[in-house]
Symmetry: C2
Subunit: 406 residues, 2 copies
C-alpha cells in the first residue's frame, strides 16, 4: 500500500497517518466542553467546530446527525453504525488528500483550517466513550499458557474450558480512565506468608503491582436481551479499538479471586488510549490468528478466518528517577503475550511471579511496579512510513498508596 | 411501634404501610414518560405531578431541587444525599397522617389528590435507577457454606478468604431488569458428561436454571477513584434496598467459571423489585448480623454491630400450568439462606445440585426451573399489621431458550 499523500505536513513515522483517522474526545481553551475530534499527524481536527462551520455541507448523509459532533462522548456517533462511520472517516480522509475531491472545504479554506486544525499538544484528551459495561476477556493464548505454567505447571497450564470458549469477566466500568491519568497503588488484603498452611491476611499496600498489555474494543450496536448476536454479525457491532492496560494487584488477586474471580485486584483502575481506531482503519491489516487445535462449537466458529489484525504492540516502563513524557461497552482482549521472553505482556510472566528481576534500559531492576513508575503501551499496524495506523500512547503513572489511619 | 394512622385507606397487611414510603419510577397513560413516585398501600403518589402542582411548597429545602422529580430515574434524587431523602420521605409520610401538620396540601385538596394518587394497578413500573456498575457479593454465610459442602464437603466448605473479606464480582449492569420482565432461558456451553475425564462441552439450552434470593442496595454518593470509603462512612453512600433475583445457569456456570468467575451463567438477566425502600425505613429493624468467628482487619471492622436489618424473605414458584400473577451502582448481597431445609435461597442448595426433587404446593416437582415457571421474591420487615415495611414483589417468568439455527 503506497502511503496517501497529504497537503498537511504529517511526520511519516506518525501512527496517526492519513490511513488512520482515529476518533477521540478533546477539550481546548477555546472550547472547554469535551467534544469529538479526529487525529491526523500532530493535529486534531475539531469536529464540533468543523460541523458548526458547515464542514460537512458536502456530505448530505450526515446532515441530520450533526449534533453527534457536539456530544461529550463518541457514543452517539458510534450509534450511527458502521456504514456512517465509514462515510465520515473516508470523507475526512479525503479532505486531507493531495488533489482531493473537496479542496474548498479545508485545504483552501484558511479560516476553517485555523478554526479546526489544532495542535494535539493544545488538546486535553478525555475518555472517548461513556462506558456502561466493561467486559475483560482472557483471549491471549500465550498469556494464559504462561500464567498457567507458573501456577499449575506445563501439563495443566490451560484450564479445560480455555480452548472451547472466550473466558471473560466483568470489570469495573467506572474506573476506566483515559491515558495519562495517574493510578494510585491500591491497599488491600494480602497473605503475609502465602506458603503457610494457615492463611492469615494482612492489610497492606499492594506489593506486586503489575500491568497487562491488552487491546480494548468498543461496541457500537446494542443487542437485545435474550437475543444472541450471531458470530457472523459480530463485526457490525464493533466500533473501534484502543490500547488497554488492565493494571493488576497480583498479591491481592491471589487471595481474593476464589471462587468469583478478580475483583479489587483490578477495580482500582484500567487505562485506555485516548483515540479510537475504527475497525475500517484496521481492515488492511486483517490476518489469521493463532490456530486453535480444538474444534469449536458451531456458534463460535468464525467462517472468516482473517478476523484478527496484525498489530505490533509494545510496553515501556519509565521509572520516576528518569524524566517522564506524558500526553494528555468496552471489551478487553486479555493480556497479549508472544512466545519469546521479550514478548510477555505482564510482569507476572516476565519475572516468574517476582522470582526473576528484569533490568530496565537505565540499569534499574524491577520485579513489580514501584511508586512513580510510568508505563506506556503503544501499538501500530504496518511498517511503511506515511501509512502507519496506530493508537497513540496509553500512559499511566503509579502514585503511592493512600495512607489509612486505622 | 404502634402503626401510624392515615386518612387514606391502606390494607393493614400492605408492605407499603405509612412506615415505608418507598420510591420508584412509574409511567401512566396520562404521563407516559417514566418519572418518580412513592408507594403507599395500593396507590402511587405521582411526584412529578405533585411537584408541578406545588405539592412541595411547604418544604422550602426541596424547592431548588424539584426537577429531580421529573427525571426518568431516581439517580438525581439519590444524588441529593441522605439528609434530603429523609426530609422528603418524612414530609410525604406526614401528608398521609391522620391529623397531620399539612392537611391542606393533600388530605383536604381533592383536586391534587385526584391528580396525584394513582392506583398502583394503573402504573407501569420501570427500573428505578440507571445502573452503571452492578457488583454482586457472596455475603450469605449459610449459602456459601451450603454450596461449599455440595462441591467440597463440610471440611473445606468455606474458602480460606471467605470470613476475611467480602467476596464479590461484577455482574452485567445492562441486563438488570425490573420485576415482571420475562427472562429467556439462556443457551451456552455445558458439559455433556461432567464426570468424564475428557471435558467435552456441547451447545445447549441451560438445563439447570436456578434462582438466587438476594437483596440489592443502591449507592447514592460517589467515591473518588483512589480514595477508599471508610467503613464508618459507608452508610452515607447507601440510598436504599430492593429485592434481587440473580438468575443462574448452574450447568453453564460449572464449566465457564474457572478461573475468572461467573460470566454468561449470570449475564442473561437479573431481576430487581421496582420500589426502593430507603435505608431510613429499615432503621427501626436494625439488628446484629450473624457473628463472624474470625477477627476482621480494622479497615473492615464495623464498630456499629447493628448494621444488619431483620427482613423476612421468601420465594414462591408458580408453574405455567397455574395462573400467574404479575405486577408491573447496585450492590447485590449474594444468595441469602437460613440454616434449615426450607431456608435455602436457591435451587442448587434446595435440590442438592439436582439430586433431590422438591415438591411444589400443587404437587408438581422440580429440581431446576422449567420454561413458563414464574418466581416471586418477597421481603418484609416487622410483623405488626399497619406498620409493615416491605419491598413489593420481585417477579420473573422463564421464557423458552432461543432456537439457534446453526
Amino acid at each position: 500500500m503506497a502511503p496517501l499523500k497529504s497537503w498537511l505536513q504529517v511526520d511519516p513515522k506518525s501512527h496517526f497517518s492519513l490511513h488512520n483517522i482515529p476518533f477521540g474526545i478533546i477539550s481546548t481553551l477555546d472550547t472547554p466542553e469535551p467534544h469529538p475530534a479526529v487525529a491526523i499527524g500532530e493535529y486534531a481536527l475539531d469536529l464540533h467546530v468543523f460541523s458548526q462551520q458547515n464542514g460537512f455541507s458536502a456530505l448530505s448523509i450526515i446532515q441530520p446527525h450533526q449534533k453527534v459532533f457536539s456530544e461529550p462522548t463518541l457514543n452517539a456517533f458510534a450509534a450511527l453504525g458502521r456504514p456512517i462511520h465509514r462515510v465520515v472517516r473516508e470523507y475526512l480522509q479525503s479532505l486531507f488528500l493531495d488533489n482531493g475531491p473537496f479542496p474548498d472545504v479545508l485545504e483552501k479554506n484558511e479560516q476553517l483550517r485555523k478554526a479546526t486544525l489544532l495542535p494535539l499538544k493544545n488538546c486535553k484528551m478525555h475518555l472517548p466513550m461513556f462506558i456502561s459495561d466493561y467486559t475483560d476477556f482472557y483471549a491471549g493464548l500465550n498469556h494464559a499458557y504462561n500464567v498457567g505454567v507458573l501456577f499449575r505447571g506445563p501439563q495443566n497450564a490451560l484450564q479445560p474450558n480455555y480452548k472451547h470458549l472466550p473466558v471473560g469477566y466483568h470489570g469495573r466500568a467506572s474506573s476506566v480512565v483515559v491515558s495519562g491519568t495517574s493510578i494510585r497503588r491500591p491497599n488491600g488484603q494480602i497473605l503475609s506468608n502465602p506458603a503457610a498452611e494457615k492463611k492469615e491476611p494482612v492489610f497492606s499496600e499492594c506489593k506486586k503491582l503489575d500491568i497487562e498489555l491488552e487491546l480494548g474494543c468498543f461496541v457500537c450496536k446494542p443487542s437485545k436481551m435474550g437475543e444472541p448476536i450471531r458470530i457472523e454479525d459480530a463485526p457490525k457491532h464493533l466500533f473501534g479499538v484502543v490500547l488497554l492496560n488492565d493494571w493488576s494487584a497480583r498479591d491481592i488477586q491471589a487471595w481474593e479471586y476464589v471462587p468469583l474471580g478478580p475483583f479489587n485486584a483490578k477495580n482500582f483502575g484500567t487505562t485506555i488510549s485516548a483515540w479510537v481506531v475504527l475497525i475500517d482503519a484496521l481492515e488492511p491489516f486483517a490476518t489469521v490468528g493463532i490456530a486453535n487445535d480444538t474444534e469449536l462449537l458451531p456458534y463460535l466458529d468464525e467462517k472468516d478466518r482473517k478476523s484478527n489484525y496484525a498489530i505490533d504492540l509494545s510496553v515501556s516502563l519509565t521509572t520516576s528517577s528518569s524524566k517522564t513524557t506524558n500526553i494528555g461497552d468496552l471489551l478487553g482482549s486479555g493480556t497479549i503475550s508472544g512466545e519469546s521472553k521479550t514478548e510477555k505482556g505482564c510482569l507476572l510472566e516476565q519475572t516468574d511471579n517476582g522470582k526473576i528481576e528484569i533490568t530496565l534500559e537505565g540499569g534499574e531492576k524491577r520485579t513489580f511496579l514501584e511508586d512513580g513508575d510510568t508505563v506506556t503501551l503503544t501499538g501500530v499496524c504496518g511498517s511503511e512510513n506515511g501509512a502507519l495506523v496506530g493508537f497513540g500512547d496509553c500512559v499511566g503513572r503509579i502514585e503511592p498508596a493512600v495512607q489509612l489511619n486505622l
